[in-house]
């Protein structure tokens, strides 16, 4: 099974164009998941009982079904109910919704780890609930979460090939396209694997650095 360097070189631009879509999906999905996770965590903690109940149900549902199934559901089933996005939009929304259920747990642990005395000090100063959350509790809760976010970002990055299944031209989709057109599989899939490795591995090392810096002391 020969590896044709010249061919590999020639398909690299296509793969890198795909990598840009991968990056868009990853960062878009993560931004959505961080916001969604926070809202879910707050909804469960300070929302009225129906909201808290909805959040619990949502989190169980999302955590106990595969991402691929959620992706197909949102891409193929929701449009039947008149709710549709373009393919990339669907991918970002699905990644965001999926990961928000996991990040909600991360936020919850972070919030629970803030010592009770911080709430009491804020209350003794007559700070409002809102000011207490925004200025006192969340900044302390989120700091040790930064490396955890990093790990989820890498995890999400490695989940993006699933998006190829709903026609999103991200990096893996681009490789499939090339393979289908040329009947050459070695170069495109090897390159995709290498690119994932070249990004994920240094990122994982970076997260370890973050852990040292932001870890709870």
């Amino acid at each position: 099974m020969p590896f044709d360097l010249a061919f590999a070189w020639s398909i690299l631009p296509d793969l890198l164009r795909g990598a840009i879509v991968t990056a868009e999906a990853t960062f878009g999905g993560m931004a959505l998941a961080m916001l969604g996770g926070l809202l879910l965590a707050l909804g469960r903690r300070i929302g009225p009982p129906p909201v808290a109940g909805f959040v619990r149900g949502y989190i169980s549902l999302v955590r106990n079904t595969p991402l691929l199934v959620q992706l197909y559901f949102i891409f193929y089933v929701l449009p039947l109910a008149g709710l549709s996005f373009n393919a990339l939009g669907t991918g970002i929304v699905t990644l965001g919704l999926h990961y928000s259920a996991f990040l909600a747990e991360v936020y919850r642990a972070g919030i629970d780890a803030v010592p009770h005395g911080q709430w009491e000090a804020a209350q003794a100063l007559s700070l409002s609930r809102r000011d207490t959350w925004r200025d006192i509790i969340l900044p302390q809760a989120i700091r040790p979460m930064v490396p955890v976010f990093g790990n989820f970002l890498i995890g999400m990055f490695k989940d993006t090939p699933l998006l190829a299944t709903i026609t999103i031209p991200e990096m893996f989709g681009a490789a499939e396209q090339i393979a289908g057109d040329t009947y050459r599989y070695n170069e495109p899939y090897t390159l995709v694997g290498l690119i994932f490795l070249l990004i994920s591995y240094p990122a994982a090392l970076g997260v370890r650095g973050l852990e040292r810096r932001f870890g709870v002391h």
Partner: protein, 248 residues
Amino acid sequence: MSTEPLIRFRGLRKAFGANVVLEDFNMDIADGERIALIGPSGSGKTTVLRLLMGLDTFDGGEIEVGGVPLSRPSEQAKLARRQIGMVFQHFNLFPHMTVMANVTEAPRRVLGLSNAEAQARATGLLRMVGLEAKLNALPRQLSGGQQQRVAIARALAMRPRIMLFDEVTSALDPELVGEVLRVVRQLARESGMTMLIVTHEMSFARDVSDRVVFMERGRVAEQGPPDMIFRNPSNERTRAFLQAILER
């Protein structure tokens, strides 16, 4: 001294499950009075301060501040509590904020002071507690005694009429106790604020207060001017408690 007490505890009751911590607790505190609250561990001293501050709810009786009842949440009760400042045993500074930000946070957010106004106020208070050189430090860069002095400045920045101190030196290394007690003493002498001080430092209790209240099992067992309580307690329990403390 006006006839109407500033703070009034009447028939206060508090239980944690089956553990009745306060039972028919009564105490009146006049405006400007400085009370030292003493008593054995578990007698309910901290609980009295926490209920007054609103950190816990009580099960019966009433607390009034300036005539406003605190048993039910109301706008008036909120405003009454805004006149109360509290200093905790473990400081409870905001660890992610500088000293300056710790002291300016509540005046800016709650009182609506501008940045400049809040900083001017904070600078004055931090000078008073001897920490004007530490404005930009983070709490973890300070000694315990320095942190506690920041916590005092933080509470004072709200210009409270009433200050609560809960064993503010008991978490400190012995050599750092003096600097904190000095600040509290100075406040007691010069500020005219009403102060409720829980402490195990008997000589401090004696010279900082107008009245010593000895608590036992959730009630006031004996009270009076410091000289009387320390020189000639009438209650057998008070005597035994003071004896035990002095022998330590």
